[in-house]
Symmetry: C2
Subunit: 154 residues, 2 copies
């Protein structure tokens, strides 16, 4: 199914999903965070047909989510590496994961967990907050017309 | 393309994407947050073929993301409403949106913005944190085997 092109939409959700809404894209990002760097590593991890993986990786290079860098070991080949834009997708992966932990797993069920490298403890929960840092509920948010500000990315 | 079935995977990212990884699902959730409640409202908002929307809404009912409730105005028809499980998807929408704001919009470009209902101000940014609340970077996280705990959902 060819979906509507929303790359020019003024809704950031629509525009983001236009770029990363393909299920495989986020699975590739997940595997990159787990250390996959070579085509064969992504292919093995995802069980994805080579031609489909190839198209997908090419698009992620074009979109600036991945970049090709010389192999860490000094070989002739190049490896895939997340750009800063790609690294920032981790917040989305964490949001997706925490929702799944809550709603798709039973207590005590085996599950991959995310831990801080420094303390080895499960990371904290993402929290919806108001501008001044108070927790807010999912339904206490409105959407309205505006413009993209000039704040730094971070 | 039929994707791999990862509904039973022990990775919460994979299991979540198996349920909500379809681009349309999150767009339907977005429109529900904006007030869409009737089939015709979703159809108009998304420009989606009726048969495809129908299949998608049915699956979201089956998955417990949407539920059918009597019409607010007291009519004979029923309307779609987000369940608590569906409402909790807002964190994912916010994560997707904030990434898009950072990387897919230029400063000053027209953009829908999310504001708190109470203060009318743009909501805060989601932050990756350690267990004790310190900010952590996307690359300072490891993934390891574990089990789903018994914490309350929230």
């Amino acid at each position: 199914m060819r979906r509507t092109d929303l790359g020019g939409a003024n809704c950031p959700i629509a525009r983001s999903l236009d770029e990363i809404g393909d299920w495989w894209t986020l699975m590739i990002v997940r595997d990159a965070f787990r250390g996959a760097r070579r085509f064969s590593e992504f292919q093995r991890g995802l069980g994805l047909a080579k031609n489909i993986l190839s198209v997908r990786l090419r698009k992620m290079l074009d979109d600036g989510i991945l970049e090709l860098v010389p192999a860490a070991g000094g070989g002739a080949h190049r490896e895939y590496q997340l750009t800063d834009k790609g690294l920032r997708l981790r917040v989305i992966l964490v949001a997706i994961r925490q929702w799944g932990e809550d709603h798709l797993f039973e207590a005590g069920e085996p599950m991959m967990v995310m831990v801080g490298k420094e303390d080895g403890q499960p990371i904290g929960r993402l929290r919806l907050t108001s501008k001044d840092g108070r927790s807010i509920d999912p339904w206490d948010i409105d959407v309205k017309d505006g413009v993209r500000g000039t704040e730094d990315v971070g």
